[in-house]
């Protein structure tokens, strides 16, 4: 009885094992990169909004402080989306006839909510509190990026756990004095790590062991 396979089939069989291993490694690499990609984290992706609100104009151009609109950021877990009344503080007289702002005026007239699209959406199993971050010297810009340059709003960072841990492991690399919390384009007056270490002590920021404990964020 003659052989069914030619003897080169041995090499093909062996090579296919190597190829399979390479393919698995490649698939692993793609999944690893993919799970961190902007496509998955939705970072740097502009969300469509009912009104094309420009932070670049309001913060960069007019110089409004973040807290003018996001009033609860220092007191609450949530940096509130401003109620329509805050828009109308100025837009009761400015851009009165603009069709772009009609949804804002309609919301004010009818006492209905504007349905903004959420840009930063943490998973519900994460406990996050804005007020403590602000109180401990984490600037708005540190997480949200140069909002004063965003014509339409996007999420600057991945908001993935490894990204949170960058700072929870080494807060001294990121914290700034409280008076510069809302400053955009902040430059530390000296060496960041040196200033950071002083601030960590001054603001009683807890040690990385506590900050990276599971139940600090998952409770």
């Amino acid at each position: 009885m003659s052989q069914i396979f030619h003897h080169t089939a041995n090499y093909i069989a062996k090579m296919s094992l190597v190829l399979l291993a390479a393919l698995l490694l490649f698939a692993g690499w793609v999944m690893d990169r993919g799970s961190r990609s902007d496509f998955v984290t939705r970072a740097e992706m502009v969300r469509e909004q009912p009104v094309p609100f420009s932070h670049a104009h309001h913060v960069g151009g007019m110089g409004l402080d973040c807290r003018y609109c996001h009033t609860s950021v220092e007191k609450s877990s949530f940096a509130n989306i401003p109620p329509t009344k805050i828009c109308m503080n100025c837009h009761s007289q400015i851009w009165l006839t603009s069709p772009t702002l009609e949804p804002v005026r309609a919301s004010f007239r009818d006492n209905t909510s504007i349905r903004w699209t959420r840009v930063h959406d943490l998973p519900d199993f994460v406990y996050f509190n804005h007020s403590i971050h602000v109180a401990k010297g984490v600037g708005c810009e540190t997480c949200h990026g140069r909002v004063d340059k965003m014509a339409l709003t996007w999420q600057q960072n991945s908001l993935q756990m490894e990204w949170c841990l960058n700072c929870h492991r080494n807060p001294e690399r990121y914290v700034r004095p409280r008076e510069f919390i809302t400053t955009m384009g902040y430059q530390p007056a000296g060496d960041q790590e040196e200033i950071g270490r002083k601030l960590v002590a001054e603001y009683h920021i807890q040690n990385p062991r506590t900050l990276t404990s599971c139940n600090t964020c998952h409770r």
């Binding site: 007019m62 110089g63 409004l64 402080d65 807290r67 003018y68 009033t71 609450s76 877990s77 949530f78 509130n80 989306i81 109620p83 009344k85 805050i86 109308m88 503080n89 100025c90 009761s92 007289q93 400015i94 209905t112 909510s113 349905r115 998973p123 519900d124 199993f125």
Partner: protein
Amino acid sequence: MRTRFQLGVLVLSVAALAACRQDMHDQPKFIPLRPSTFFSDGRSARPIIEGTVARGHLDEDTAYYTGKDANGKLVAEFPFAVTKEILLRGQNRFNIYCTPCHDYTGSGNGMVVQRGFRHPPSYHIDRLRNAPAGHFFDVITNGLGAMQDYSMQLTPEDRWAVAAYIRALQYSQEASINDVPAAERAQLGQGAAK
């Protein structure tokens, strides 16, 4: 037969895990401003009924919480001792909420006014220099003219702090060299010379 069973288990467990992930990410609970289909206005949080008094907020001290005395007359003086901490807090809040229109000196040439908002009166006119302290508290609480009220943004404590800072701004514009202690006059102008 056995491999098919294993494959089935694998597929089911992957599907279960995927579904689990989504449930945990978007749990059926209401976080702030998450919409609801239950109420007709689409909001999950209910507006506070008018006249609601929060526990510990009976606010019986009319002078402190309205800026007016029992007869409805604006209080002339601050109903507390103004300290440096209060002034600094007032400056901080003033710079956030008031400067867009009133600008950093209180003359009323803020950025929003430059873009077409009605010009508010300068703080440095006689009418406002002589205004009772309660006037500023009352305007922040209830608004005046084109200005909306800022009672949501500023707590009563903060409103008084801002009012105190406005007084400080008024004094700052009337100050003369005689107001500076003689020992410190030499320092004047040195910052600019540097």
